[in-house]
């Protein structure tokens, strides 16, 4: 079973995402702050990270940077899943090594799940 780390501070959205992906047979771990994320990224066996950008404490960009700088986790694909869409944010996400940038409100949870399964196949 593939393992996904969801980093999302909005409890409601995080639960919706988590429940949907669990239903689609993924093992889910979550983090709701930047600091918690820094911890959880070190858990073994993570296949994909879903990363929100606006987080309390350390923001998503810093988490992304840390992931891509750390030897044994930098190869994990990171999908930035955010409701921001400013040019600088998308540019920055790409430069920091995000595999994709998805605007939450442009996708249903089914579409998110399909995206993830394509990426992991």
């Amino acid at each position: 079973m593939r393992k996904i780390l969801i980093i999302e501070d909005d409890v409601f959205l995080k639960n919706l995402e988590s429940n949907k992906l669990k239903k689609d047979n993924y093992e889910i771990i979550t983090a709701s702050t930047g600091d918690e994320a820094m911890d959880k990224i070190n858990e073994p066996g993570i296949d994909l990270i879903l990363l929100d950008l606006i987080l309390p404490g350390i923001d998503g960009f810093d988490v992304l940077k840390k992931i891509k700088e750390t030897e044994n986790i930098k190869s994990i694909p990171v999908i930035v899943f955010s409701n921001l869409s400013e040019e600088e944010d998308i540019k920055k996400a790409k430069e920091l090594g995000a595999a994709e940038f998805m605007v939450k409100s442009n996708f249903s949870l089914d579409e998110l799940s399909e995206h993830i399964s394509k990426m992991l196949s």
Partner: protein, 252 residues
């Protein structure tokens, strides 16, 4: 006289500050709206998918209507956020050195999830020769590529491929970029008018009712400001290729 100039300068600074604050507020509001709209969209879809229990056909119909409504709102927020930056097109051009391959790469990255959604593949064919740095307004050119790639995705069908290619012409010291799709195509009559303000082709309107007809008009404007050329070749139901030629150095 210098008093008046000073007054104008002060007014100008004030207006710029107001405009920038307004723009920031709109960005923040847009983000807030999207957060609520995401939740709404996802929950409605969960009802329709029977993830929250069985519902009657009639209930499903109502949920579908609500979902269409919420997707319309999401569309509108997306448009407002784009419009929020459109005043930047009135700002004079800022020509600097730029790497055109990197720029196109960034735009492709930006649209890769939209493309995935429609199972459309964006393929960037870079020439094997190194493409030198060129002079241009990076943000303006970004708008051009965003427009062309967004259109290519919009007017494609599922499982199609969009080819973006770039090559450097050493003799003429210019780059030629092409964006080729296998979508609905543009009729001959429409091709003549495609770069005019507010014009939308008949096939385009059929395929997608939204769209304001400003994209290609702005694109042509920007390319011509760079002393370049933009043109199109297309056949209905077969596909469309947009071509852009840009001089490497504007003093040419």
């Amino acid at each position: 006289m210098s008093n008046e100039i000073e007054k104008l300068q002060e007014e100008n600074i004030k207006l710029k500050r107001i405009s920038s604050t307004k723009s920031d507020l709109i960005s923040i509001s847009g983000h807030e709206l999207r957060t609520s709209l995401s939740a709404l969209k996802w929950i409605l879809k969960m009802f329709i998918d029977r993830d929250l229990g069985e519902i009657t056909l009639e209930q499903e119909n109502f949920m579908q209507k609500a979902l269409i409504s919420s997707n319309r709102m999401i569309d509108l927020v997306n448009k407002l956020l784009i419009l929020n930056h459109s005043e930047e097109l009135d700002i004079p051009f800022n020509f600097q050195k730029l790497n055109i391959v990197d720029l196109i790469d960034q735009v492709i990255f930006e649209f890769s999830s939209e493309a995935h959604k429609k199972s459309v593949e964006l393929i960037f064919l870079k020439s094997n020769k190194n493409i030198p740095e060129m002079v241009g307004d990076e943000e303006m050119l970004r708008v051009v590529f965003q427009n062309l790639i967004e259109n290519a995705i919009k007017y494609e069908d599922r499982d199609d491929k969009i080819f973006i290619s770039i090559k450097y012409n050493e003799q003429d010291k210019d780059v030629e970029i092409s964006i080729r799709d296998t979508g609905i195509g543009i009729g001959d009559k429409d091709q003549e008018k495609i770069f005019t303000k507010f014009f939308r082709g008949t096939e385009a309107i059929k395929k997608d009712g939204s769209g304001n007809g400003l994209g290609l008009f702005a694109a042509k404007n920007i390319i011509e400001h760079h002393k370049g050329k933009i043109w199109v070749e297309s056949k209905l139901n077969i596909g469309t290729t947009f071509f852009i030629k840009l001089p490497i150095n504007l003093t040419n």
